[in-house]
């Protein structure tokens, strides 16, 4: 049977309707996608107006975006008012951060998704993107004091890639698009832990050997010169390098398992802490004081030792040394019980042995370290000041209960005024202002 003209016209009308419906659907789909993209951009701070520069979307998204990423507790900051004690610096995850040398207000950080390096002036809120070289999915960023950085990520083979670079100066010809090139080189694969060796402007890292062990390497930033300073048949070590030149190697911790920390002295391992369950370790620069934590039997304990031959003191706060940072407060003039009024000798300058620790308000796990390292649990921390010399602790900040802060990788500026840290819950960057302590003087 041949189709009639009427049938044909029905088919045509139906086809036209279907076509209009499809186009409509496509329109709404595109519109929805655009809204999503806009919302995403807005969350990163993209201005609603069109970018005025011709530099391209990525540049503008990030630079303009990051300005609005600087957040001050609900934007309640008023002109002239002091900044809040706790500030959220970024909304998006960061891979690492460092304070500018000698400053308390400039904070450098690497964005996790892009590997871009930014500087944030925490007093003014001004943020500047410093680099424009893309390092997607940066898991960890390690900064040195001179502006060099190591960006670490996992490649498609599951290997650790570590790019060691230096930020080009603003006058450099490499500066483009408002950001500078990050020039540098990839270091060898599978560096399991790396820190800048502050005293020698080198890198100190642990790299696994083919037979399951590890070597500790001192290397130039370009990886061209390297020296093995430590070897072990075990691979699970992490290094610590202090500004006074001391180097430590610590066996990675596990709840209930004996942990060990050693100082490398003249090529030998000198024990610092032995046989401590679930050991986390934090040595102090310029003194032999240490803080160390233990995790065993379902509970946490923190200890302080003022010097090498002193007895360890159990502190009345329960946390891990990973959540602590030694204070960089300047030296205070020592007070004496019987001041010599007519003495012409200046009173000795004594650096107080003070640390700041984030302390979980509740610990819900019997195997805290493992669960915390795996991201299976998070804590809500308050900040405590630990005076090791005086054997006292003092609560200095407890965040709002609706804003849990799980402190990770805390660092302190050179002036001892701020602590920057990552909130492990979402990897955002935060800043805590420490009230400067009044300095006591002798008469």
């Amino acid at each position: 049977m041949r189709p009639t003209k009427k049938t044909l016209s029905y088919v045509l009308v139906l086809a036209a309707l279907l076509m209009f419906a499809g186009l409509g659907g496509w329109y709404f789909f595109l519109n929805r996608q655009a809204e999503t993209v806009s919302a995403t951009d807005a969350s990163r701070g993209l201005r609603s107006e069109a970018p005025s520069q011709s530099a391209g979307n990525i540049y503008n998204n990030i630079v303009s975006g990051i300005t609005s990423l600087v957040e001050r507790d609900g934007d309640e900051t008023r002109e002239g008012a002091p900044p809040p004690q706790l500030q959220k610096i970024t909304k998006t995850p960061v891979a690492g951060m460092a304070f500018g040398a000698g400053t308390s207000s400039v904070l450098y950080f690497a964005e996790s998704s892009t590997g871009y390096i930014f500087s944030a002036d925490t007093s003014t809120g001004a943020v500047e993107r410093l680099t424009n070289r893309l390092f997607p999915k940066t898991q960890e960023a390690v900064f040195s004091r001179d502006g060099s950085v190591v960006l670490r990520s996992i490649d498609e083979n599951g290997d650790i890639a570590s790019f060691a670079g230096k930020i080009a100066t603003s006058t450099s010809s490499e500066t483009v698009d408002g950001g500078a090139m990050l020039s540098g080189k990839y270091l060898e694969r599978n560096i399991s832990a790396i820190v800048p060796a502050v005293f020698s402007r080198e890198l100190l890292y642990i790299v696994k050997t083919p037979f399951g062990g590890a070597d500790g390497i001192l290397s130039s930033w370009d990886g061209m010169r390297r020296k093995t300073v430590f070897s072990s048949p075990l691979s699970g070590w992490y290094p610590i390098s202090l500004a006074d030149g001391r180097i430590f190697f610590v066996l990675r911790p596990a709840d209930n398992a004996a942990g060990f920390a050693y100082e490398l002295k003249n090529g030998s391992l000198v024990p610092q802490v032995r046989d401590a369950r679930g050991l986390t370790y934090l040595p102090n620069t310029s003194s032999t004081a240490i803080l160390y934590g233990e995790s065993g039997g379902g509970s946490l304990a923190l200890f302080a030792r003022a010097q090498n031959d002193a007895t360890s003191l159990s502190l009345p706060i329960r946390t891990v040394a990973d959540k602590c940072v030694w204070s960089t407060e300047g030296p205070a003039i020592a007070t004496t019980t019987t001041p010599k009024i007519f003495s012409k000798k200046p009173a000795p300058m004594v650096k107080p042995l003070v640390a700041y620790c984030a302390v979980p308000q509740f610990v819900t796990s019997n195997a805290f370290l493992g669960d915390w390292y795996r991201g299976a649990i998070h804590t809500s921390d308050s900040w405590w000041r630990v005076d090791v010399s005086a054997d006292t602790v003092e609560l200095i900040f407890a965040p709002e209960t609706d804003t849990p802060i799980d402190v990770e990788s805390p660092i302190m500026d050179d002036r001892g005024e701020h602590i920057a840290f990552i909130n492990a819950i979402d990897k955002t960057l935060w800043l805590l202002r420490i009230k400067p302590e009044k300095i006591k003087t002798t008469p």
Binding site: K137, R152, S153, G212, S235, H378, D426
Partner: protein
Amino acid sequence: MGTMMTKEGRVAAAGALIILSALFLFAAPAYAQFGNTADGRLFLSVSPEYPGPNEPVLVSLWNAIVDLTGSDITWYVNNKVFAQGVGMTKASIAAGPLGSETNIFATAQTRDGLYASGNASISPAEVDLLWESDSYTPPLYRGRALPSAGTGVRAQAIARFKPAGSAQLPERDIMYTWKRNGSVVASLSGKGMSSAYIRAPALFGTDIIEVAASAIDGSAGGRARAEISSVEPVLVLYENHPLFGIMYNRAFDDTASLSDTEATFAAVPYFAEAENPDDPRLIYSWSVNGKKIPSDELNRSELTVNSANSNGLAQIALSLTHASNLAMSASRAWRVSFGSGNDIFTGFNPFPALSE
């Protein structure tokens, strides 16, 4: 160095104190140690057998022939009288610091006038026993790899022997004896054998690993032990985010909620016998809402779920076994709600403006 003599000999014995130094010069070096063991001579034993630096050491005297309980006993430590008393057959002495040698000399005079003496020296040493497993942990994991059945344990002994007045003994001059549950593992023991690779304890088992280290000349020794338990592999699920990669900081809890309608999940088998999560020996069995999902051959540890045409609720279940290790098995399930506008499982949303 012990002697047994009659009363006449006591005159000579009275000068013993004067010549103690000389005697020590000829004393055979020993760690924790005994003087002469021949019949009729004083025998000194120390506990612990391998004392560490500055540790208290209990030294005991005995003699098979002489009744010491009624004897006048004098203890000398480094040529000085340390303790004296009738029947004082035990003395608590502190070992010196690393690198020191503490010389102990004891004399006993019986009611019958017999005289006996013996000596020992203590050279404290330290031995640390460190261990880890070769089980799988992610590349930047900050904790230690723990053993599970089928994996191995790498152990390292770090011994510190410093004979008085000389440098620390090098590893090659130290004899290591490894024991597993009390039995010597001969293949791992020997001169300079400071490390060992041992199979992990059986499923749910605990092994006691011990290492004894002694100087080849017998001048010092120490030991250490560790109780090592096997754990079950821990199966953890993370989001493999297109911008951030695998978000190791946020493990999915049993119940989770995501703002997106599509997500890629990455399973990480902590402490499994594997080189990486996609190790061909690992067998992943994924299911979503009870329906088995064939996994991607290249990324078998990952699963992408798109909830666009569903009610947004996914019951994700994962079972993990091992092709050659029958003891390895782990399974877990997660209830994930997609497109809920908020990441409830964490309160985490890297782009909070989206949900504001």
